[in-house]
């Protein structure tokens, strides 16, 4: 029995040493990422006046550089395809921790899945794993119970996952054409059989996820506390506009929040040539939509660089 326990202890020591061999792998992980916006944020390199948050609708439909040239305010897009409101709240919290607070945040919401359970819109851990060398990332994983604090501090391997071992330079798909300003527009139509969806979607708030509501309200609160103007943007979709969803978002938002709803009567948003698919604009459409938002920002008297 004693030999058994001694060997177990010896093996544990070996494993502890073996684990430390993976420190270079962990440190190398960020370097093979093509999208290093999170790292820039953690290094305090995103000190912009306008920040765009959202999922793929935020990433593809809003061109931050377009906003910058039209409003004169520096802008950056920190939207992540497939990310949910909890992830957006984390991004804003991190941004505020390591960078100067922006003047305004544009939150591009997902109609209708912003607060609903969804398989496609989640907290994107895979975007965070390459940066596990940063204590802030591990801290968040611990907070969200993705990782155990003690083990994360003890073991390097435990911090990582298989994506850290993909040593090839990641080849971006045409969907992931990352611009310098952080936007990711698409320049091709991915659904050629696109038909306008006339269906009226019933929005049932009973299905909402409590954690997402909390995250939404926290994001509101972060903006208020840091004197940031929050602009909630309802982007165009190639389907009927969901007013019930808009109403719900307005209900949950603080009173100082501004709302920008795309003009559903604008023929551009009824023209399928401006859409990559039902939920995303192509570059030409994104430029038009960005110009609209820029004029809204300018008219809101935010558009003066300080």
């Amino acid at each position: 029995m004693k030999i058994f326990l001694l060997k177990l202890i010896l093996f544990s020591c070996c494993f502890f040493l073996f684990d430390k061999l993976f420190i270079p792998v962990m440190n190398y992980s960020p370097q093979i990422q093509k999208d290093r916006r999170i790292e820039s944020m953690l290094n305090g390199e995103i000190n912009k006046k306008l920040i765009v948050l959202g999922s793929s609708r935020g990433a593809r439909n809003v061109i931050a550089s377009g906003l910058e040239s039209a409003t004169g305010m520096s802008a950056y897009n920190l939207s992540y395809p497939g990310s949910d409101i909890e992830f957006h709240e984390f991004i804003l919290r991190s941004l505020l921790k390591f960078n100067k607070p922006p003047k305004a945040v544009l939150l591009v919401v997902d109609d209708p899945s912003e607060l609903l359970p969804s398989e496609s819109i989640t907290f994107r851990y895979e975007s965070l794993y390459p940066y596990v060398k940063y204590p802030h990332i591990i801290e968040e994983m611990v907070r969200r119970k993705e990782k155990n604090r003690l083990l994360a501090e003890l073991l390097i391997l435990y911090r990582m996952n298989s994506s850290n071992f993909n040593f090839r330079k990641i080849n971006f798909t045409p969907y992931d054409s990352l611009m310098k300003c952080g936007s990711m527009p698409v320049s091709f139509i991915s659904d050629s059989n696109l038909k306008f969806d006339e269906a009226r979607i019933h929005y049932n708030k009973e299905n909402e996820v409590p954690e997402k509501i909390v995250a939404f309200q926290k994001l509101n609160m972060l903006c208020t506390e840091n004197n940031i103007k929050l602009i909630i943007v309802f982007p165009p979709n190639y389907k009927n506009y969901n007013t019930a969803f808009e109403q719900r978002i307005r209900e949950l938002s603080r009173k100082e929040v501004l709302f920008y709803v795309y003009n559903s009567n604008n023929p551009v948003y009824r023209n399928k040539n401006y859409y990559a698919d039902e939920n995303h604009l192509v570059l030409e459409g994104s430029k038009k939509f960005t110009a609209e938002i820029a004029s809204f920002i300018s008219s809101s008297k935010l558009g003066h660089p300080q």
Partner: protein
């Protein structure tokens, strides 16, 4: 408390140390400790169901003694049927009530009769099918005078609720496990090391193979309308590996854990995907349940002694009951029926005991004929799993129709390369170790310690790095 969690990683060493050191080898205290640990383990899910487990234990313990002490056969029979009815009654209420109520309401509505049965919002107590079957086998064995009742309540309770097997088996027999619980257990270094190896391999199967396959199988089955035939087929194959990795992984962890306490549990899996026919598959898949049904249902029904018609009837009964045991859904019954159909030709032509040996024993690779048989058997199994995994019979048929359409010939857009490579690696190791209790049972045994330990380090690294999204063990729901 799941086997693949940090909670269990803390719980197990504590119980292990207390078991071997604090009890000083006293079997009574060891059993008391095992019972407390087992009840704690079970209460971590839902402490309320602990009372159900204790009640079920008390019932079988008491009826067992009453049967043995009965002076007349009718009294013995009374206690026997009381136990059977109460055990199956609990199972029926907790697991099948809503199924029967809904099915009856649907059938009556087809006849134009609208009924509104009282629908129970019951939670299925974890492991109820497993510990009920433990108790049933005990009671039946006493009734048939195969064993004497256990009069020590602690010992009997440990037999029913020994934590490694409590929630998902293997389904033990009193004849096999009770003597081990009663007798003194001595620490055996080789068995303990073997147990640890089996735990590591079980974790690899569960965390690396099953959980990663589950991610894709879930996406494909939950959104089946969006995928082509080739992708749906891929989803079914991933599910086949998910359920195998999940359940056999669980069994390996359970058996390995029991070995650490000096207890040997029944084997539950023996490389079923290398089977050359369906009969062999069923001798290698969920062995403890298959043999349970054989001994306590098939043989009492007459087995294969009463001619062809009886063989067919009994085989269908066994497979249908086995399907129904898995859950209150027509999909499981269809899965059981399909397997019975697969079995029929072998049974009718007396070929169901053709492949009793280990495939390609002593050879590195199987022959062409063996390869063909293995692939055919695996394909039939995968086809049956579609019913097992689908939400309804209609869902299963919609998947099957799409699989057999032209879209089967399209290149799958969703093709997880890493998970596929992991499956290939896993099956290669299983193939190499197929003549042993588990794939890495003897792997590296003759290597020098540093090399052998390096193998363990690599497996543990895989477990940590390739951990997919944590999935509940599939068989917990049964």
């Amino acid at each position: 408390m799941l086997f693949n969690t940090l909670d269990f990683a803390c719980f197990l060493p504590i119980v292990f140390i207390l078991y071997w050191f604090a009890t000083k080898g006293n079997v009574k205290w060891q059993n008391v400790l095992l019972l407390i640990a087992s009840y704690f383990f079970y209460a971590c899910w839902d402490w309320r169901f602990l009372f159900l487990l204790i009640f079920s234990t008390l019932l079988d313990y008491y009826t067992g003694i009453k049967m043995a002490d009965a002076k007349t056969h009718p009294i013995k029979k009374f206690w026997f049927w009381l136990s059977i009815c109460v055990n199956l009654g609990f199972l029926g209420v907790f697991k099948y009530y809503n199924f029967f109520a809904d099915s009856l309401a649907e059938s009556l509505s087809l006849l134009g009769l609208q009924t509104n049965f009282w629908s129970l919002q019951v939670i299925l107590p974890v492991g109820i099918s497993f510990y009920t079957f433990h108790g049933l086998s005990y009671v039946i064995d006493i009734y048939k005078n195969k064993i004497q009742p256990e009069r020590n309540f602690i010992d009997y309770s440990v037999f029913v609720s020994f934590f490694p097997l409590l929630v998902a088996g293997p389904i033990e027999r009193a004849t096999h496990l009770l003597p081990q619980i009663i007798n003194k257990r001595i620490f055996n270094y080789a068995k303990a090391v073997d147990g640890l190896r089996q735990i590591i391999w079980g974790l690899f199967k569960k965390v690396v193979i099953a959980d990663n396959c589950a991610e894709y199988a879930n996406i494909i089955f939950n959104n089946s309308g969006e995928y082509s035939g080739s992708e749906l087929l891929l989803g079914a194959v991933f599910f086949a590996f998910q359920i195998y990795g999940d359940f056999s992984g669980y069994s390996d962890i359970a058996i390995g854990t029991a070995k650490l306490f000096g207890i040997k549990l029944l084997r539950n899996f023996a490389y079923p995907y290398f089977s050359r026919d369906i009969a062999e598959f069923w001798r290698r898949w969920h062995i403890s349940l298959t043999t349970w049904f054989r001994d306590y249902l098939y043989f009492p029904l007459g087995g294969s002694k009463g001619g062809t018609w009886m063989k067919i009837r009994n085989t269908f009964i066994i497979f249908l009951v086995s399907g129904f045991w898995h859950g209150a859904n027509w999909t499981f019954i269809a899965w059981g029926a399909l397997n019975a159909l697969y079995f029929m030709p072998l049974l009718l032509f007396n070929k169901n005991r053709n492949n009793l040996d280990i495939v390609a024993s002593g050879k590195f690779l199987p022959s062409l004929k063996e390869t063909f048989s293995i692939i055919m058997t695996f394909s039939l199994t995968v086809f049956a799993w579609i019913f097992f995994r689908a939400n309804s019979i209609t869902h299963a048929f919609s998947i099957i129709i799409e699989i057999f359409s032209n879209s089967l010939l399209t290149v799958p857009v969703l093709f997880p390369k890493v998970t596929s490579l992991l499956i290939l690696l896993f099956m290669s190791i299983e193939w190499i170790g197929r003549s042993h209790e588990f794939a890495i049972a003897k792997m590296g045994i003759l290597w020098t310690r540093p090399v052998r330990w390096l193998m363990y380090l690599i497996i543990i690294t895989f477990i940590i790095l390739f951990s997919g999204k944590e999935q509940q063990f599939i068989y917990f729901q049964f």
